[in-house]
Amino acid sequence: MQVIDAKGIYYRDLNQKVREAVAKGEKEVLLKNVNGQYYIGDGLNGESTITIEGVPGNDLAAFMDGPTLIVKDNAQDNISNTMNSGKVIIHGNAGDVLGYGMRGGKLHIRGNVGYRVGIHMKGYKKQAPVIIAGGKAGDFFGEYMAGGILILLNLDGEKDSRPTVGDYAGTGMHGGVIFIRGEVDKKLCGAEVGITDPDEEDIKLLKEHLTDYCKDFNLNIDEIMKGSFKKLTPASLRPYGNLYAY
Amino acid sequence: MSHNFHKDISGCGLAGIINKDGKRISGSSISKSLCLMNDRGNGLGAGYAAYGIYPEYKELYAFHIMYDEPACQRDTEEYLKKNYRIEKKEPMPTAPVESITISPMIWRYFVKPLSEKAERDAADLRDDDFVVRTVMKINSEIGGAYVFSSGKNMGAFKGVGMPGEIARFFRIEEYEGYIWTGHTRFPTNTPGWWGGAHPFTLLDWSIVHNGEISSYGINKRYLEMYGYKLTLLTDTEVVTYLFDLLVRKHGLDVLTACTALASPFWKNIDDLQEDEKNAMTALRMVYASALMNGPFSILFGHSKGLVGFNDRIKLRPLVAATKGKTVYMASEESAIREICPSPEKIWAPRAGEPVIAELEG
């Protein structure tokens, strides 16, 4: 394992070191004293695991293609921007615009997430990006969602009275699926969204993804599966069909 | 409006001499050489630059300033007093010349920027930069005042008239310098303004120039980006400032600066060895807007030497010659022969290939 002390190092130099370590085949990298450095894991490929102590800066895992990033603390905005594959595990909360245009891989967050999470996520072929957040989400959850799976668990629901998901959930959604643990208020969903109960297949899928999630955070899968889920999918394939005159 | 100016266009002849040992030569030589080429000018401008002429004040900046009227002098001196220690101030020594009936008031000052920070604008600037700023300020902000020389131990002398007349007016034969340049001018419009004659100088750079810089428009805008104020409406000013920027501010050597200003063609660059090719490619990329395009031959003087060069397809003439430690350059061979009848070597430099003569030792 290679340990890199990130204290006071500018992101460009830090990421250069990370790239070099990964390029020479280092499987385990530990970044200590990270605080605010942007772009950790940006465009990185391979199968290394990079553990981050401290709060990493924005665009963590942007364009990433393969590695696993483990953040022991909270993380900021734009995580997994246009990520292709790999895994990001955040032990704390995370910010806004997570998984923008994400095409594959997994983003597991133990805590709450901000606005516009899973925006424009897309599946492609066998790739199905997955974002699972253990807490609550802000507005515009799954905006323009075109593919993949978004799961919101509200594990610590009793702690505050906010609804699990914010306003305009799934607005512009035209692909993929959102699962929300607990009830969903139709008023908070975009016009393009239909709300149903998950079927048997869905529950199987949920269990599969959540088992992996629980392993990351040492949680009890059976406890989580006890709760009920709602499933959000696009109501229409052509929501804007009548908008234009030809 | 920086774009809304009228550009001054002129043809001309030029001549230059340097003694590489630093031996000082009387101004009568350059005047004689230049007078042979009278037909290249039309009497609307001539001038000289000389290095080594003020040995007793060589640590001070010598400002030569023209004034249209006493009010301009008052304003200028007020500014100078605030910012400079004025060691000596005197009217420029001149002699009456029958054909020169009107001339501006011409004064010279030997000065040093005040080092006491409180009493001088922009105290953090180096002396040279501060002098450049002073020249830009006076020339662009005080109407009717014009600093036409600002270097150390050197000076420019210029005005409206034929080369012989201007030489007599400024008593050129009384000065001795180790470098001389001279210029006779053929402007195609008639501003009748003394400041429009060559040489153009800034600090100890001096330029005399034959031809027109067809790339003037972009060269001017490029320099303006670096804070130069192009007030004189002539492309020669551009050359002066380009040298100032590339050599003094950017630290390029004179040869590299000349290469940037009259660069080789891509075809030739592509054939070079890798390192040189990369260097030349970068030079053209970075200094694209400094490329001087169009017909020109230029003599560029500075305290350590004299450089002659012409445009990259040789649209204006330049001849160089050597005899002993003296190097001559001129628009026409005959102008050299007039003062050096039998040089050891005489040649016409190739396009874009500078002749660099520097003081030895």
Binding site: Y11, Y38, Y39, N45, D59, A62, F63, D65, N78, T82, V97, Y100, G101, R103, I119, H120, K122, Y124, Y144, A146, G147, G172, L237, R238, Y244, A245, Y246 | M1, H3, I9, S10, E212, S214, S215, Y216, G217, I218, R221, M225, H250, G251, L252, F265, W266, D275, E276, N278, A279, A282, L283, M285, V286, Y287, A288, S289, L291, N293, G294, I313, L315
Partner: protein, 503 residues
């Protein structure tokens, strides 16, 4: 019963005496104007867009397409399209769509600028027999260079140069995605770009495997839809472009409906077949200028600082300040698209009424970057309404490093600027994905025509440089002194930084 109260714009006519009933018109028309009636060709003139495909393919010259002489009563205020659009909206309740650049009669400043030429005081140069250089490098240039002496005594570069795009002429092909145009049209452009030593741009539709061989002549685009974007894609071309906006539709996004997403396009965009391809209006990771900086450097990190990053914006009112921010955010290239720029589909209300012309925008941006002393930090690409080499030369004199061409490139493939790209019926096989139409566009054949166009423009540009007495494009670039305005008011002249003719 009438079909529509919107009067047809064109009348397709067949001279039945000349017609040999070969049915080529029926086969060629992508709009189904013609049908076989058993003994003669029937015409549904409401569908005609005057693309002239049938006219060119009629062996007997039996077809004429006329502007419909039946117009609404003439009215200086209520023009034909005002009335017609209201009727269409009354019938559909929708937003009228359009394609190509605006055809509204706004003043075109390029047509009010004249270029200088040398007479006597400086010589013109013969461009056919003397060297004349058009080579252009796009990218960030350091303000100054440092050299050291190499082992051979020759100067060796000490400054590390940022990555550059090398162009053999100051032209590039503007972004047009696979989806907005056919793959054959993209291939045509790619072949031409490679042959010409210039670059094309993928647009936001991803990079099709057939285009990969041309990667050294390709800029890959990252837009709000992030279609086809992954680390391989970012590293595939010679540069990466972040698309913020487009001249024809500033401030709005794009939408390729699912039924226009067949397998091949879906593959290129990396989305499932049949799903809508939505490009949101903003990039949702950019809500402010510091976010743009964040994305620029996210891309630089992903490409290890080996590719210049371009940022494309629509020309809008405050474009100079925006461009300055973009440069300060770290962009190597600023691509400015004027409001007359083309589009595959845009609401006509947006296309015709939002944004500003490229001439004003370019002049303002170049001047602003110079005033701020950062013009060297980024190259400027001007686009949106470059119709000829004259426009290109004037744009370069105003300050552009290169100009981008799209409509003119499509015209070489048969386009007649009919403006109906959004229907997907292009009879020339350009803005359509219908296989029976796209097959008409043979990339090898049409690339030759496109190469001819750029060669012709390059020759014209050299003629202009020669007349100006300069022999390198950089001596024209930004040299507004070589332009004069004719018939322009003093404020416009001031914005353009040019003097009026006669001064």
């Amino acid at each position: 019963m009438f079909k529509s109260l919107a009067v047809p714009e064109f009348l397709a006519k067949i001279d039945q005496i000349k017609c040999i009933k070969c049915k080529r018109c029926i086969q060629n028309c992508g709009w189904s104007v013609y049908a076989w009636g058993g003994d003669k060709v029937l015409i549904d003139t409401f569908k005609c867009v005057k693309c002239l495909r049938c006219y060119h393919y009629c062996p007997e010259e039996a077809i004429t397409i006329e502007d419909n002489p039946v117009k609404y009563r003439s009215n200086a205020n209520w023009g034909f399209y005002n009335i017609r659009n209201i009727k269409r909206q009354a019938e559909t309740g929708g937003i009228p769509l359009t394609g190509m650049g605006s055809d509204m009669p706004y003043p075109v400043l390029f047509d009010s600028l004249l270029i200088d030429a040398c007479q006597v005081t400086n010589p013109s140069i013969d461009p056919l027999r003397e060297p004349m250089e058009l080579r252009t490098y796009l990218g960030k240039k350091p303000a100054k260079l440092e050299f050291e002496n190499g082992p051979d005594g020759k100067p060796k570069l000490k400054t590390k140069m940022p990555p550059q795009i090398k162009l053999e002429a100051p032209f590039i092909f503007a972004p047009m995605s696979y989806g907005s145009i056919s793959l054959n049209a993209q291939k045509t452009i790619a072949i031409a770009a490679k042959e010409l030593g210039i670059v094309m741009n993928t647009g936001e539709g991803g990079l099709h495997e057939d285009i990969y061989p041309y990667r050294s002549n390709i800029i890959v685009q990252v837009a709000s839809g992030r279609f086809g974007v992954n680390p391989d894609y970012l590293n595939a071309g010679v540069a990466v472009e972040i698309k913020i906006g487009q001249g024809a539709k500033p401030g709005i996004g794009g939408h390729l409906p699912g039924e226009k997403i067949p397998l091949d396009i879906a593959k290129t965009r990396m989305i499932p077949v049949g799903t809508d391809a939505i490009s949101p209006a903003p990039q949702h990771d950019i809500y402010s200028i510091e976010d743009l900086r964040q994305l620029i450097f996210a891309i630089k990190e992903a490409t290890n600082y080996t590719k210049p990053v371009s940022v494309k914006i629509a020309a809008v009112h405050n474009v100079a300040a925006i461009a300055s921010g973009i440069v300060r955010a770290g962009a190597d290239i600023v691509y400015i698209d004027g409001f007359r720029g083309g589009t595959g589909a845009a609401p006509s209300i947006i296309r015709d009424h939002l944004g500003i012309p490229i001439e004003h925008a370019l002049a303002a941006v170049d001047e602003r970057l110079r005033q701020e002393g950062i013009r060297n930090e980024a190259s400027i690409i001007a686009a949106g309404g470059i119709r000829s080499c004259a426009d290109a030369a004037k744009a370069i004199a105003l300050g552009a490093d290169a100009v981008a061409l799209a409509t003119s490139a499509l015209i070489t493939m048969g386009c007649t600027v009919c403006g109906k790209c959004y229907t997907g019926n292009c009879s020339w096989g350009i803005t359509t994905q219908r296989p029976e139409l796209t097959v008409r566009l043979d990339p090898e054949v049409y690339a030759e025509r496109l190469i001819n166009l750029i060669h012709a423009w390059s020759h014209e540009l050299k003629e202009i440089l020669g007349a100006l007495g300069v022999n390198a494009i950089e001596s024209l670039r930004g040299s507004r002194e070589r332009l004069r305005g004719i018939g322009l008011d003093s404020q416009t002249l001031d914005i353009l930084g040019v003097k009026p003719v006669g001064r």
